[in-house]
Symmetry: C2
């Protein structure tokens, strides 16, 4: 059975780049010409859509996927929701795999509604999901994944400093919580494993804790990882490399600010935001593959 993760892996191979570009368009990332029109919710939403589409045009032949962070769209009420969906549509039509980073979580008919909202249509291939409600909060998503050929990434070990407050709590068994949840994620996705051996139910595993990522990578051979925390949060290529298997597969690494706001750094000074985004996404592939070679 081919699943969405097989498609993602094929696309990563085709682009030779295990990078997902995070479209988290904060207004202060926009160039002045777009900032000018960003004075109302409607104006912000339109500016953000324009910004995203120019970046997509510039990177669509070198990255396999984009990840759209819903928070930066919900900021603008229904104008933002439209901007998010329009961005997804444009990315999809540009041949990219589209992830919605929504971290939704609920139970029963409510989780079914979220699953239908994001995985019921054409726009999104993957969404992120929070595991706190347990299997009742996963099954409705997994069912839609099976039916519609979609995928989810369930939060396991996040990249932020205080994630450890909860995710690293040691259980009676001696195992930290994120490990237990990792095991549940593998179990939850066991019916959705594709031809490459990876399930449509993946996990979010931060680049900022490579030892933990290495441990999870070994323990969860069928779970594909979405890796945040590279770049602005401090994760390096060698840290992200911990999430890949011995064949250099099994993970995709997100970078948001480091790509879409690359033009604001000294390294890419003087370039347009979209040209700088392309350079940064290419540099990231080189960094990741070089780290994988030296792993």
């Amino acid at each position: 059975m081919t699943n969405i993760t097989d498609k993602l892996i094929a696309k990563i191979d085709e682009m030779n780049n295990p990078t997902v570009a995070g479209l988290d368009p904060r207004i202060d990332f926009l160039p002045d010409e777009l900032k000018k029109t960003a004075t109302t919710f409607e104006g912000c939403a339109k500016a953000v859509t324009e910004f995203n589409c120019r970046i997509i045009d510039s990177i669509k032949d070198i990255v396999p996927a984009v990840k759209i962070q819903s928070a930066f769209y919900e900021l603008y009420s229904h104008y933002g929701t439209l901007a998010m969906d329009e961005t997804a549509k444009y990315a999809k039509e540009s041949g990219l795999i589209v992830m919605a980073d929504v971290k939704r979580n609920d139970i029963g008919p409510t989780a079914e509604a979220y699953a239908a909202a994001y995985l019921g249509g054409e726009l999104y291939d993957y969404i992120t999901v929070n595991p706190y409600p347990g299997y009742d909060g996963i099954k409705p998503f997994a069912d839609v994944c099976a039916k519609n050929g979609k995928g989810i990434f369930v939060l396991a070990r996040m990249s932020n400093p205080s994630a450890a407050d909860i995710q690293n709590m040691k259980l009676e068994s001696g195992e930290p919580l994120y490990m237990h949840i990792g095991g549940l994620i593998e179990q939850w996705g066991s019916q959705l494993v594709g031809e490459n051996g990876y399930s449509a139910v993946g996990a979010v595993v931060g680049a900022t804790n490579p030892d933990e990522a290495r441990f999870l990578r070994k323990k969860l051979p069928s779970v594909f990882f979405l890796v945040p925390g590279y770049g602005a949060q401090g994760g390096k290529g060698k840290d992200a490399a911990a999430s890949f298997d011995e064949k250099g597969k099994g993970a995709i690494v997100n970078n948001s600010r480091g790509i879409i706001a690359a033009y604001k750094t000294d390294k890419y000074k003087g370039m347009t935001y979209y040209a700088a985004a392309r350079e940064a996404a290419t540099a990231m592939a080189e960094d990741l593959y070089s780290a994988l070679k030296n792993k």
Copy 2:
């Protein structure tokens, strides 16, 4: 310092009803005359708004608050977001406290964006938040609560059967995870305690596990509880009563289907959906206060 929870407590006292009406409008809850127009996203969103507003008209003088479940709006893309905001606006103008059940969770600037989206404006008084990212995912919300007089309810012990998969995992300390998280919630809200002794940082504690609710109620004297699981999920008045303090305060109990779809049950047969909603909300107050008297 008066906080939003003081306002909520005053409103509960004024209405003599610790009930929050859950506006989770599934299309199959709608009466035929509204179902007819619910054939497109735009049509569904309009039908749902109409349904909500008639219910709000009917219950605004007997319940203190409504809780809007975002999943049932996100189903209809930007039309749904507009319907959600219009419902909130109508509820607010009708004098109700408005909760958005969004269970958002993220970190840093992303959590700030969610906090600004839902607690930055006039429409929502409270939102629900998932604790999995730890304090980095709470602080941005708590900061906006402090600044704008808003509140959050953080998931502690949910009402669904599989919540125990994760939330009841025993920690090395012997404590179940939900207890540890309960303690963190109290800590996270310690700077936002109001005149009634309750913080603007509350907790979600399901009615389906009264022993655990009783334990949390004792351990977390400054944490106000939002209690789901009454009615359709099996929680009775006496179960919900476990979340209240000895003065009969400290909690508000949600009921969605049991109020907005009451007209579909034998008990309220022949009534309009909004008249039945009013009867059901009144009956719920009686049930809860009778359980509290016999506690």
